[in-house]
């Protein structure tokens, strides 16, 4: 079968790109290696219950009436009604550092007020910073590829406050150690502090179902358990796509969400060597199911970002994990219409792929146990101890992420350098998703849309335009 476009990966970005092309009337096939769609945001069954992976919260939760907000723009582009996702805002979240805590919710004023209480006049500086942020669509601008830390220091004098503001942004989207670009910072600051966090009551499945339903309704074809093993090129263009089971398909072009290097390797040795990228950020996450409702752990904590050391370090750990800082997510603690009772707490912290990859089977199983102990003990200081109430614990590691999503190094925000324009050395191959430069669920959706609009729809005479 021949297609106009084959899309590698049924994660958020691949599904979004697929919907756009199907809307334009193309024949599109999304191919996914795994048996479930979603990629980094997916779900699985464990002891008969459905568990979500990925998605703590959706960022960019601007008011539905703000038509220029990214979330509303992308829903329009996908022709999906916002109420289909039934998003409910967070109660509030907390940035907890030694001796000082800042609370924030979807009203930026709370954060400003908290900063005023703990850091006095810095509140005015924070407001100035917020007003000076580059716009969303400038993230790839060459002039904004400089240090976010330096940008923040231009407004915020107290280094502790600067660290506290950077902490949730790095955790929710930092592809590199220590710092990010000003462009990335602006996107994340807007999407987390200015617009805010939300969740669908039914979790990430709702979003995935609405995307896959829309794609199929428009005539798109979605194949699961179809791993692309090779992209057969000739004269610098892809001719055919070969799957792991030996079957082949042809397409005029390919959009891949598998990651830039991961995709180039599929094109053979002459492309596969383009720079390995070892310094990727990965995490462990423990999904802990409790025997009782989670409300006792602070009913107003939706997400807690914590750091317990003198200096907050966003870097690849020197061992399996670094539990000095991390996140605790309470999926039940959002403003749902009727109280949620999943009784799940999710704890995460940075992890180093290399250390996990060196373990043998027994060591790996053992390391998962000790890692949970360490992580839970660290989080206990900030949110309370979940261990006495834990009925079931599932821990996923950088290896789990790599196995189920194919991302090198178990990275969740892609490689350390980005392909902002979505092009590759192959003329009819484009990348979308994390490696195109937009991270998170909303970022990935926007990336799929942008790449489809710019590179594929433009060919048929419709370029993104400014009237």
């Amino acid at each position: 079968m021949d297609y106009d476009t084959i899309i590698i990966g049924a994660g958020m970005s691949g599904l979004a790109a697929g919907i756009r092309l199907a809307l334009a009337g193309q024949s599109v096939c999304i191919v996914e290696q795994h048996s479930v769609i979603g990629g980094l945001n997916s779900y699985y069954k464990r002891h008969g219950r459905r568990c979500d992976v990925g998605l703590h919260a959706l960022t960019n939760c601007a008011s539905p009436s703000d038509r220029r907000a990214p979330l509303n723009r992308l829903l329009r582009q996908l022709r999906i009604g916002r109420n289909e996702w039934a998003l409910r805002p967070q109660r509030s979240s907390r940035i907890a550092f030694p001796g000082v805590e800042l609370r924030f919710n979807n009203d930026f004023l709370l954060l400003c007020e908290q900063v005023r209480q703990h850091f006095g006049e810095e509140a005015a500086h924070l407001q100035r910073l917020a007003q000076s942020l580059p716009a969303y669509d400038q993230y790839a601008d060459p002039s904004l590829q400089t240090s976010a830390r330096q940008f923040v220091a231009g407004f915020i004098r107290d280094p502790l406050l600067a660290e506290m503001l950077l902490c949730p942004l790095l955790f929710y989207g930092g592809p590199t150690e220590h710092d990010m670009t000003v462009g990335q910072f602006a996107v994340l600051f807007r999407s987390i502090f200015l617009e805010g966090l939300a969740r669908p009551a039914e979790g990430v499945r709702v979003i995935l179902q609405s995307l896959s339903h829309q794609f199929r309704r428009l005539g798109g074809e979605l194949r699961i358990r179809a791993r692309v093993a090779e992209l057969l090129t000739r004269h610098g263009a892809i001719q055919r796509v070969r799957f792991a089971d030996g079957r082949e398909a042809a397409a005029r072009r390919v959009i891949s969400s598998a990651g830039f290097y991961e995709t180039m390797r599929l094109c053979g040795p002459s492309y596969g060597t383009v720079g390995a990228d070892a310094k990727r950020m990965s995490f462990v996450e423990a999904v802990v199911r409790l025997s009782r409702p989670t409300e006792q752990f602070g009913r107003n904590d939706s997400i807690v970002f914590f750091n317990r050391s003198e200096q907050f370090a966003y870097q690849r750990p020197k061992g399996l994990i670094d539990s000095r800082s991390g996140m605790a997510c309470f999926p039940d603690h959002f403003e749902f219409d009727s109280p949620a009772d999943e009784r799940v707490v999710r704890l995460s912290c940075l992890a180093d792929y290399g250390h996990w990859a060196r373990l043998n089977r027994d060591e790996y199983t053992h390391a998962k146990k000790t890692t949970f102990e360490q992580l839970a003990a660290a989080a206990a200081e900030v949110v309370g101890d979940v261990r006495p109430l834990a009925e079931d614990v599932d821990l996923f590691t950088p290896l789990t992420i790599e196995r189920f999503t194919g991302h090198d190094g178990g990275s969740i925000y892609g490689g350390t350098s980005k392909r902002y324009d979505g092009t590759t050395p192959i003329s009819n191959l484009f990348v979308c998703g994390n490696d195109q430069g937009l991270v998170g669920v909303v970022g990935a959706l926007m990336s799929g849309i942008t790449v489809a609009n710019r590179h594929v729809l433009s060919e048929s005479g419709a370029r993104t335009i400014t009237v």
């Binding site: 809307l23 220029r68 022709r79 609009n453 005479g461 419709a462 009237v467």
Partner: protein, 86 residues
């Protein structure tokens, strides 16, 4: 298609692209951008739908003609006047 039918065809497209907008009070002289808060991505969809529904290819240099309802209808009229109503 008559001018009124062409206008209706554009309204149909707009109501698919921006289902939450009230189009009944649309001011034909005012730009879509201002009135409906449309952005470049939304305009791309007008072009895309015209191509899909009526096989009309609009070259990029003509995009500015799609700024308002009045200018869009004026632009489409010579192209669509001989088309049967859908």
């Amino acid at each position: 298609m008559t001018v009124a039918e062409i206008r209706q065809a554009v309204i149909d497209i707009l109501s698919d692209i921006a289902p939450d907008q009230d189009l009944s009070a649309l001011n034909d002289e005012m730009s879509f951008r201002e009135q409906l808060e449309m952005d470049s991505m939304d305009f791309l969809d007008i072009v895309m739908e015209l191509r899909k529904r009526y096989r009309i290819q609009i070259p990029e240099e003509d995009y500015p003609q799609l700024a308002s309802m009045a200018s869009t209808v004026a632009y489409l009229e010579p192209i669509m006047k001989d088309m049967p109503k859908k």
